[in-house]
C-alpha cells in the first residue's frame, strides 16, 4: 500500500494509521485537510495541484497566523515604543530566529529578511559589486533560474565581468568534469542553484563550494527549490550566502531570506536605502545600522514574518526526512507513470533520489501550453513554459516544457489524475 494514501483520504487526526513507520506523513498528523485550497473544485474536478515549485499552497495555520497578526498586533516595528509595536517587533524577530534555527544557522543576525528569493539574489549580486573588478569571473551554471542569471548579466555589463557557466550534461547534471578548468584565479563568485526548478537535479553544492573556496571565491546558493523539501543545513553546505522565498515553503508571499556568514555579511553593501537601515543621517551623509538591519530598508512585511513560523511548525511536525522520502516516492512514481507514454520526453536524472520533487516533460504531439490548458480542464494544475529558465530550455532544445511539481500534500492519486488528463488531452488532439 502506498504511503501517501492515508493522509490524503482521512481527515486530520483520523483514527488508524496504516502506514509503515517513518514513511507515512499522516503518522505525523499532516493532512491535506489542513490546506483549505485543496478542497476546491476546478472545472468540476477535484483540484490536483501540481505547481508547488511555482508557489506552495498554505496550511490553515499560516493563513490564520497572518489574519491574527492583523486582528491583534498590527504595528510598525523597531522604533515603536507602544505595546503593539513591541509585539510586532517580537513577532518579526521571532521569524528571524525560527528561520535561523530551521537552517542550522548559528546567529539570528545572519538571516536577512527580503521580499523574496529574487530580492535576496539581487542583494547578493549588487551588494558584492564593490568587491569586483573588470575582468573578474563569475561562475554560474546552465541550469539557473533567471533570478540567478539576469542580475549577473546586468552586473557583468556594468562592471566588465566575465560570466562563465558550468555546462549541463545530456542526462541533466552539472558537468563537474569541467569545473577545474572553469574555476580560475579570476573566479570571484560562484553562484548556483541547489535544486533545478526544471530538471529537478540536486547539485553537489558542498563539493562545489569547497572547490570554489580553495580558489578564494565567494559561494552563493539559490535554495528556492530545496528549502522546505529536503534537509538544508547552512553550515554543512559551506556556502557564503543562501537565498530562498517563504512562499515556496508553505509560507506567505512577499517574504524571502538571504542567509550569510558573519564575514560576508559584514562586507555586503546595502542596495536599498531608507528608514530602519540607517544609524545617522544628515542631508548629505548616512551611516548604516548593524547587520542585518542595514539590509532591511523601509517597513518590512511584518504580517508575513508573523505567519511564516506556522509553516515551519508544519514542516517540523511532518519532519523534513519524511517529506523528502515522500517527494522521492512521488517523483519516482511520476517518472514511471510518464515513461509509459510514447513520444513524451522526460528531462533530468533517472534516479528520483537525486532529484527534487518535480518532473518536466515534453509531449511531441501537444504544445506544453495546450497540454497545461487541457489538464486544467480536468482540474490538474501543472505549469507550462520556460519556467524562467530560457537558456536551459535552449540547451534542452525546446522552447517550453510542462512541469509537475510536488508538495507534502500530493499523493500518488494526483499523479494518476495527471496521467488520465494527459490521455484525455491526447484524445482531444488525436
Amino acid at each position: 500500500m502506498r504511503s501517501d494514501l492515508h493522509f490524503l483520504k482521512g481527515p486530520a487526526g483520523a483514527s488508524a494509521c496504516e502506514g509503515q513507520d517513518g514513511d507515512c506523513i499522516r503518522c505525523g498528523a499532516i493532512c491535506v485537510e489542513r490546506f483549505p485550497v485543496l478542497k476546491r473544485l476546478v472545472n468540476g474536478h477535484r483540484l490536483v495541484y501540481l505547481d508547488s515549485a511555482a508557489t506552495a499552497q498554505k496550511p490553515e495555520g499560516v493563513i490564520a497566523a497572518q489574519a491574527r497578526y492583523y486582528r491583534r498586533h498590527n504595528a510598525n516595528v523597531h522604533r515603536g515604543m507602544h505595546t503593539l509595536a513591541s509585539e510586532a517587533t517580537d513577532l518579526y524577530e521571532t521569524c528571524r530566529r525560527r528561520t535561523a534555527r530551521f537552517l542550522g544557522v548559528t546567529r539570528p543576525e545572519q538571516v536577512i529578511m527580503t521580499n523574496g528569493a529574487t530580492g535576496a539574489l539581487n542583494l547578493a549580486a549588487f551588494g558584492l559589486r564593490h568587491t569586483l573588478n573588470p575582468g573578474d569571473e563569475i561562475l554560474l551554471t546552465e541550469m539557473e533560474h533567471h533570478a540567478n542569471l539576469v542580475p549577473w548579466i546586468k552586473l557583468a555589463r556594468q562592471e566588465g565581468l566575465l560570466l562563465r557557466h558550468i555546462p549541463v550534461t545530456d542526462d541533466g547534471r552539472l558537468d563537474l568534469g569541467a569545473l577545474p578548468e572553469m574555476l580560475t584565479d579570476r573566479t570571484r563568485i560562484v553562484s548556483l542553484t541547489h535544486a533545478s526548478n526544471v530538471l529537478g537535479t540536486i547539485n553537489p553544492v558542498a563539493e562545489i563550494a569547497a572547490a570554489a573556496h580553495k580558489r578564494g571565491a565567494v559561494v552563493i546558493v539559490d535554495a528556492a527549490q530545496s528549502v522546505g523539501h529536503m534537509p538544508v543545513d547552512f553550515d554543512a553546505l559551506g556556502v557564503d550566502l543562501l537565498a530562498f522565498s517563504a512562499h515556496k515553503v508553505y509560507g506567505p508571499m512577499g517574504l524571502g531570506f538571504l542567509v550569510g556568514t558573519p564575514e560576508i555579511l559584514s562586507r555586503l553593501e546595502p542596495v536599498e536605502f531608507g528608514g530602519e537601515m540607517i544609524e545617522t543621517v544628515t542631508l548629505d551623509d548616512a551611516t548604516w545600522a548593524d547587520v542585518p538591519h542595514r539590509f532591511e530598508a523601509g517597513t518590512p512585511n511584518v504580517a508575513a514574518a508573523a505567519a511564516f513560523p506556522a509553516a515551519l511548525d508544519l514542516i517540523e511536525e511532518a519532519t523534513l526526512e519524511r517529506i523528502r522520502t515522500h517527494e522521492i516516492q512521488l517523483t519516482g512514481y511520476a517518472l514511471e507513470t510518464l515513461s509509459a507514454f510514447d513520444e513524451l520526453t522526460i528531462y533530468g536524472p533517472d534516479d528520483p533520489s537525486q532529484r527534487g520533487g518535480l518532473v518536466s516533460f515534453h509531449d511531441a504531439k501537444i504544445h506544453p501550453h495546450d497540454l497545461a490548458q487541457l489538464l486544467d480542464a480536468r482540474g490538474v494544475a501543472v505549469r507550462a513554459g520556460h519556467h524562467c529558465a530560457q537558456p536551459l530550455h535552449r540547451r534542452l532544445g525546446v522552447v517550453a516544457t510542462a512541469r509537475a511539481s510536488f508538495g507534502l500534500y500530493n499523493s500518488h492519486d494526483d499523479i494518476d489524475a495527471m496521467a488520465d488528463a494527459i490521455r484525455y488531452a491526447r484524445e482531444v488532439f488525436a
Partner: protein
C-alpha cells in the same frame, strides 16, 4: 465556465489546428512579416498578396501552440477579400476585445470564428498566443503603408 476550454479546443483545434487555412505558397508576397512571442516561443510567418489595397491571398505559417495556429488560420480565412484598412480595423478591434471584457466582437466586422478565442482571456498568458498573428498583420500593414522595412513584431502589446 466548466468545460469551456475543452469546448474551445474541440471546436477550434479540430478544425483550424489540423487543417490550418492560409497554407498557400506565396513566392512573391506584397506584404510579409514575422511574428514572435518570446515568452512562449510561438513564431509565425505571414505573407499577403494584394490586389490594389485588397488582400487576395494569405499564407500564415505558425510554429507554436494550437491557439496561435488556430488564430493564424482564422486570420487567413477572415482577411482574404478585405482591404488593408479593414484588416487593420479588425485587428485593432480584436486586440481591444482580448484586453477588454465585452462578450462578442461587433457583428458588422463579420468576425467569423474569432469570437471563439474569447475564452482564452481567462488565461492572460495565452492572450498573446491568440493575438500573435493579428499583431504581426498590423506590423506588416504599418510598414507597408509607411514604406519602412519590415521588422520582427512581438505580441508584447
Amino acid at each position: 465556465m466548466i468545460g469551456e476550454m475543452d469546448e474551445l479546443y474541440r471546436e477550434v483545434i479540430l478544425d483550424h489546428h489540423r487543417a490550418p487555412r492560409g497554407s498557400a505558397v506565396i513566392d512573391t508576397p506584397d506584404l510579409e512579416a514575422e511574428g514572435k512571442n518570446p515568452s512562449c516561443g510561438d513564431e509565425l510567418t505571414l505573407k499577403l498578396r494584394l490586389d490594389g489595397d485588397c488582400v487576395v491571398e494569405v499564407s500564415a505559417v505558425t510554429c507554436g501552440c494550437a491557439i496561435a495556429t488556430a488564430s493564424g488560420s482564422i486570420l487567413a480565412e477572415l482577411v482574404t477579400g478585405r482591404t488593408l484598412a479593414e484588416v487593420r480595423q479588425l485587428a485593432d478591434a480584436f486586440r481591444e476585445h482580448m484586453h477588454g471584457d465585452g462578450d462578442e466582437l461587433p457583428d458588422e466586422l463579420d468576425p467569423g470564428d474569432l469570437d471563439i478565442l474569447t475564452s482564452v482571456r481567462r488565461f492572460p498568458a495565452r492572450i498573446k498566443c491568440a493575438l500573435l498573428p493579428w499583431m504581426t498583420a498590423l506590423e506588416a500593414i504599418a510598414s507597408h503603408t509607411q514604406d519602412r522595412p519590415v521588422g520582427v513584431s512581438t505580441t508584447e502589446v
